[in-house]
């Protein structure tokens, strides 16, 4: 993009050309930061659900003054002669007459919700439910995510081969997993829906990249968001303040691709080999496990995300004055693990209430089959505000990994 940004800057300034970006990205703020870093001063639109149906990016289209496509593979060297200096006539030969996105009410930021809801119920097919889901996902914000999930869920149920509905269902699950209204299993449901969509169209790279964003390093084409730190540093050097990010990328999202899983550090020792540490019987902490992708083929790897949260029904907080949170994982025989002992980053404040995410990778042996269970447990210091006690506790976190036959296409599971 920087090449086109710089190469067309004069034409844009002179009013001869409009650059119009569309980002295939869940987080609009990450795109805003990229634009700030690179100095992209043209409008960039947000397409979190791939409603434009791109199968891969980048994708450049030269569109003339009549809205007619003149090139889908423009070259900067010949762009002026082939496109910019030409005067085109309105000679469109067909094309899709309807809009790709839901129509908005005049002068407003929202579609006619009631009309779309009524149409979905009246027509009742996958396409109309998906269209309602699109309107809710694009314009409804977090408060409409539940309804968008319901609409996409109905579309996928009516037509199990509706790949876009499945992909968008996954996007909404992932979005909800990052809100205060998240529910246990949202992230795994996103991965499952994306997996089902990709089974239907393995050539859809926008869908594939969403799984890879959170998946194992062995399956990554590149690090997705390793540029964020550099961008923020460069922006500060310029004397500007980097635009904030609601969800900071970490773990899998910034991990570099690997060709082989390294052996775990040999010095790792089980911190509670005899299981003597008291269990968290009051459930002060809740664990959520997500396996990416949802099933693993023999000889391949999955990335396992473990998120630990304070139970909102309890009154408790992390105690950060003692040793940090640790997660110990016992891999099954023959399975190769990236790390056996994981440790959460230290927190400066003496007490805190944030969620803590730890992730690692495990590679299945070639003879793997069915399901295996990894025995894992977390050790942490937590204070119960009701009783005023701070304790060092253990939470057992069993992790189930399901395998696929080596020669069959992947079959991800629905959310239970």
């Amino acid at each position: 993009m920087p090449v086109w940004h710089e190469g067309t800057a004069k034409w844009v300034k002179d009013g001869k050309l409009v650059l119009l970006g569309v980002t295939q990205e869940q987080h609009a703020d990450r795109c805003r930061l990229l634009a700030q870093w690179k100095g992209f001063d043209w409008p960039i639109l947000h397409d979190p659900i791939n409603v434009l149906e791109a199968t891969a990016v980048p994708l450049l289209v030269a569109i003339d003054e009549h809205g007619i496509v003149r090139s889908t593979r423009p070259a900067l060297a010949t762009f002026q002669a082939d496109f910019l200096d030409k005067t085109f006539t309105d000679d469109a030969k067909g094309g899709r007459a309807n809009r790709i996105t839901p129509a908005l009410k005049d002068g407003e930021r929202s579609p006619d919700w009631d009309a779309l809801r009524a149409r979905a119920k009246e027509v009742g097919d996958a396409a109309t439910w998906r269209e309602l889901g699109d309107a809710l996902a694009l314009w409804g914000g977090d408060k409409h995510l539940d309804e968008a999930l319901d609409a996409y869920g109905r579309a996928a149920q009516l037509d199990p081969k509706d790949g876009p509905a499945l992909f968008r269902l996954g996007v909404c699950y992932r979005q909800r997993s990052e809100t205060t209204g998240h529910r246990p299993g949202d992230f795994q449901a996103a991965i499952a829906a994306w997996g089902r969509a990709l089974d239907l169209d393995p050539n859809q790279y926008i869908w594939r990249r969403r799984i890879q964003q959170y998946g194992p390093r062995l399956d990554k084409p590149y690090a997705f968001y390793d540029w964020v730190e550099t961008a923020e540093k460069d922006i500060r050097v310029r004397g500007e303040k980097p635009l904030p990010l609601a969800v900071r990328p970490g773990g899998a999202e910034i991990a570099q691709p690997l060709k082989a899983l390294p052996a775990p550090p040999a010095e790792a020792r089980n911190p509670d080999p005899d299981g003597k540490v008291h269990r968290d019987k009051d459930g002060l902490i809740q664990a959520e496990v997500t396996v990416v992708p949802a099933r693993v083929r023999p000889g391949q790897a999955v990335r396992i995300h473990v998120v630990l949260r304070l139970d909102p029904k309890q009154q408790a907080h992390w105690n950060n004055e003692a040793e940090p949170l640790r997660l110990w994982v016992e891999p099954p025989a023959g399975w190769q693990i990236s790390e056996r002992l994981l440790q959460a980053p230290a927190v400066r404040e003496a007490v805190s209430g944030e969620e803590r995410a730890l992730d690692f990778e495990i590679k299945a042996p070639k003879e793997a089959q069915d399901k295996v269970r990894l025995d894992a447990f977390a050790l942490y210091n937590v204070c119960d505000d009701k009783g005023g006690q701070c304790r060092f506790l253990r939470l057992d976190v069993p992790i189930d990994v399901r395998t696929l036959p080596a020669d069959n296409p992947s079959k991800a599971e629905d959310k239970k």
Binding site: T8, G21, V22, A28, C31, L33, L45, E53, R96, I100
Partner: protein
Amino acid sequence: MRRIEPFLVMLVVLAAATPSDAVPYEPKVGQRHADFTLPNTATGKPVALSDFRGKKVLLIQFASW
């Protein structure tokens, strides 16, 4: 077995097909680009491709990863 008339088959196919059931949208040279409206990442306000009718546009789809 009774032969199904080809035009009947065509009608059924046409009735079942909706734009969203079709293959993914792909811009084609010589065709008018389908219109769309999406939120601007900077402002959240809706922007449509058709807002730029009368101007030459380079549409760039990309990802920030």
